[in-house]
Structure formats: C-alpha cells, structure tokens
C-alpha cells in the first residue's frame, strides 16, 4: 500500500474526472440547444439527400464553358496565392528572425504582424477583399496570399532561426557582409524546408480556394455553392467529384515536382 496508489482509488479518481467532464459537456450542449442524439433520430435525412444526389450529373461539365474556367480559376488562385504568399512570407520571415534582423525596431512589429495575420480568420479577410476589389477570383487570391503569410510566416521564421549558426559565424569571420552570410550560410539550409512547405501550401490552398469560393471567391467553390442553393444536388455531386479528382491530381503533380526539385538539389 505504501509505494503505489491502489487501483480502486485510481479508478475512482478517473471515473470522477470523466463524469465531471461528461457532465460539463452535457450541460453545455443543453444550454446551447444542441442535441447530439440527432445523429440517430435524423439519420434518414442523410439517406434522402444521398438519394437525390446520385447519380452525379456530369453533363454540366460539357454543357457550359464555365466549369473548365472555374477549374482554371481555382488552380490559378491557389498558384498565385502560394507564389506571392510564399515569397512575402519568406521576406517577412527574414525580417523577423533574430539571426538575420538585428534591429529590434524592425523585428518586433514584423513579428506582431505575423501573429496577427495568423490569428485573423480567413472569413474576415475574404469579406474585406470582396468589398474592396469585388467578387471573384481576385479577392480569393488575395485572401490566400494573406492566409499563406499567416500560416507560414512564423514557421519560416523558426526555420531561419533554427539554422546552424556555425556556418554563419564562419562566413562572418572572413569578413563577409550580412547579405553574403544570408546567401551562403542561411539560405542553403533553409531553402529545402521552404520549398517543401511551399508545395504543402499549394495543396492546402487548393482546398482553401474551394472553400473561399462559397463566400464569393470564385472558382469551383462558387459554382458548387450556386448549385446547392438552387437544389441542383446532382450537379453539386458532380462538382464534388471534380473537386476530388482535381485535388488528387494536384497532389500527385506537386509530389512529383517536389521530388525532382529537392532530389536534384536546387541550391545555388
């Protein structure tokens, strides 16, 4: 009895904690009028929906020139969003990293900016851009740029700060300038990570651009939203299938490209 807690007491502790959590959760659900048992009582609605969704109606793909354009929009949004967002994220990361930016006057505000951009919900960003530049893929692309900076700005900053300081010190000691140190010591270590993350970012942005389409960002997401709105469920399912195919294709493409790029050695 001396060296261990008897199992019955441990069990009582665990059971009490578990019951408390369950009670709190149940209380919250009650307070918020949220009934999880609906899953079983209302399950048949899902069946009804499925029935009205199948078979998916792929006619709309040939019917209008609109859908290929929508696909192009979605891919372009993600591409540009990743490109510009990535570049800006890298620039800001260098401005925020302690080993590349010695002036706190610059570092602190940039870090604050990165934290803010990360926390801002994409919802607000797209709404603001829609108001500023109008509905469509442009607003979506800008939102993705901001989103990419938010997600990867801090990450890239950490990558830069985590590079080994030994090569940098060595190059400083031969009298090189800060720019040269960055180019020869820090970049070679950080670039593979940047590239890998950018490819990942492209994957994420393709999905995000579909989501943004619903709020007026253009692309397949927008068409999907419209189809659901007018209850054309079979069209909607066709678009969903298209989405899945597109995403899987893009994933394969980006995997292959990344393999070639990093395998070959992209460092100057």
């Amino acid at each position: 009895m001396k060296y261990y807690i008897p199992p019955s007491r441990r069990y009582r502790q665990k059971a009490a904690l578990f019951s408390l959590l369950a009670l709190v959760l149940a209380g919250l659900c009650l307070y918020l009028d949220f009934n999880p048992l609906m899953l079983f009582t209302e399950f048949h609605y899902l069946g009804d929906l499925l029935k009205s969704m199948t078979p998916p109606d792929f006619n709309l793909v040939w019917r209008s020139k609109d859908i290929p354009m929508a696909v192009a929009e979605t891919v372009s949004m993600a591409f540009l969003g990743t490109l510009f967002g990535g570049v800006l994220a890298i620039v800001l990361a260098f401005l925020a990293a302690s080993n590349t930016m010695p002036f706190r006057v610059v570092r602190i505000p940039v870090r604050l900016l990165l934290v803010l951009l990360r926390a801002i919900p994409a919802l607000i960003v797209i709404l603001v851009f829609v108001v500023s530049v109008g509905l469509g893929a442009f607003a979506g692309m800008l939102t993705l740029v901001i989103g990419t900076i938010g997600t990867f700005g801090q990450l890239f900053m950490e990558v830069i700060e985590n590079t080994e300081s030994a090569p940098a010190e060595a190059i400083y000691s031969v009298g090189a300038s800060r720019w040269q140190v960055i180019r020869y010591a820090i970049l070679p270590q950080a670039v593979p990570s940047f590239i890998a993350n950018l490819f990942y970012s492209f994957d994420v942005n393709i999905r995000a651009s579909i989501g943004l389409g619903i709020f007026g960002g253009g692309g397949i997401g927008f068409r999907l939203f419209l189809a659901m709105r007018v209850l054309h469920y079979r069209d909607a399912l066709a678009l969903v299938c298209l989405t899945i195919i597109l995403i899987v294709l893009m994933e394969r493409l980006s995997d292959a490209l990344r393999g070639r790029l990093i395998g070959r050695g992209t460092l100057k």
């Binding site: 009895m1 060296y3 261990y4 008897p6 199992p7 019955s8 069990y11």
Partner: protein
C-alpha cells in the same frame, strides 16, 4: 514439464534452421541453451510458447486441467490459455514503457481476467497487492509506482521477472535475459531466476557460458540447428570451441 519432440523448421530459401530438436525439461531443472549466433537457440525458445511454429514435430505440455497439449497444433484459444501459464522474459525487457512497474506486473494476468474488466475497470486491490509481493520477490517493491521508462536496465528486467512470477506459471522461458546488462546486474538476475526452478522448469537462452556454468543445472548446446550437447553445465574448453567455432580458439590464443 515440457517435452520437445523432433521439431524442424526450414526457411523459405531452403535453409534448415531447426533439425530434429528433441529434449524435455522438468521441474527442478534450470536449462541453459548455448550456441553461436544464428544456430537456432532463440528459434527453439520461441517455438516453446507458440511465437513460432515449426514445420514438423511436437511440443507437449500439460494444461491447467491436466491434459497433454501439443503447442504446435493447438487452437488459438487453447494457446492463449497455455500461454497464461508460461512466463517469458526477453532480452529487451519488452515492458509497456508508459505504465508503472506495478501495472506492468499486473499485465501478466491480463489473459486471466475478462476483457471488459481489463479495459474499463482494471485490476482489483487484491491483485495489486499480489503484484506488489511479486515486486518484493525481485527486491524492488519501492518502484511499484514509478514509470518503467525511468528505470535502469537491471530494474526493468526485474520487473519483467516479477511479471512472469505474477502469472504463477508452470514454465519459465528466458530469451537472452542478461545480454543487455552489466556483469553485476547480470549476476543479480541470474540469482533471482535460479530459485524459481524449484517450482517449474526454467529454460533460458544465453550467450554467457560462464553464467550457465555457475547457475544452470543443465546445458543444451545447439549448432546449425542440431543439438550437439546435453548435460553438465560445466563445459570444457574444447567443448566450447566446438559450440562456438574456431573464433573462440583464436580469441583464447590471443590472451596473454
């Protein structure tokens, strides 16, 4: 008592790794199995509790009801029941690192309590007390509440032995139990295992002939899948060279 009758095993590439191995071990015996690496010692041991199935032969043992069962041919459920009465300790200790020493000992009897109870309620206080006594037997009762991943190698192996003791087994198997330990810890472990042979047959695979000479009651040597020696644990130099090959003579000759 366990009886091994003519077990053989051939690898997919045609090599025969076990060739008509036969022996039997009874209560009161502490058998050490010696041999060069790859000779087939560990394979033999793993056949004894069904972790490996030989191509032919039989391994006979009495189950809880007194009936003789062939471990090689027995059904899965019967094998589980038999295993509950076979204690095993491994070279790498093989404990659940995240759990405390006591929990690891209690795991020994997992098969003997209902699945439902083991997942939701756990063990009773009486079982915990018995597990604690098993830890006392291996001289580390104070570590009952400590997580295993913070214990030393020797302590972990003692927990493993406690787990085996907790099973109240009819047979104890040990797969190179001291190979990862320093000499003083190894001696402690051997001193803990030997008295257990009073109650059940103990079979262990070892790489340390000096240890088996000191602590075992009998030694079986395996070479290229065949038993080449079965008898007195004290082996002469020539016998050792026969078991381990020419390298040993060269090492011996290199000594000043």
């Amino acid at each position: 008592m366990i009886e091994v009758r003519n077990i053989s095993k051939r690898l997919p590439d045609g090599r025969k790794v076990l060739d008509n191995i036969s022996f039997s071990v009874g209560k009161g015996e502490f058998v050490g199995i010696l041999g060069a690496s790859g000779a087939g010692k560990t394979l033999t041991l793993r056949c004894l509790n069904g972790l490996l199935k030989p191509d032919s032969g039989a391994i006979l043992m009495k189950d809880a009801s007194g009936q003789v069962q062939d471990i090689c041919k027995v059904s899965r459920i019967r094998l589980r029941k038999l295993r509950q009465k076979i204690g095993v300790i491994f070279q790498g200790y093989h404990l659940v690192k995240r759990l405390t020493a006591l929990d690891n000992v209690l795991i020994g009897r997992l098969g003997q309590i209902s699945t439902f109870r083991s997942l939701f309620y756990g063990f009773t206080d009486e079982e915990a007390e018995m597990a604690s006594q098993a830890l006392e037997q291996v001289k580390i009762p104070q570590l009952a509440g400590t997580r295993v991943n913070s214990l030393s190698g020797g302590e972990m192996q003692r927990v493993a032995i406690a787990r085996a003791i907790f099973q109240s087994p009819n047979l104890l198997l040990a797969d190179e139990p001291i190979s990862n330990l320093d000499p003083s810890n190894a001696k402690v472990i051997m001193k803990l295992i030997r008295p257990l042979s009073e109650f059940m047959p103990v079979i262990g695979v070892f790489h340390q002939p000096e240890m088996t000479a000191r602590y075992c009651t009998r030694v079986i040597a395996i070479k290229e899948g065949r038993i080449i020696y079965d008898g007195d644990p004290k082996l002469s130099q020539d016998q050792l060279i026969d078991i381990y090959g020419e390298e040993l003579r060269q090492i011996e000759n290199a000594r000043p």
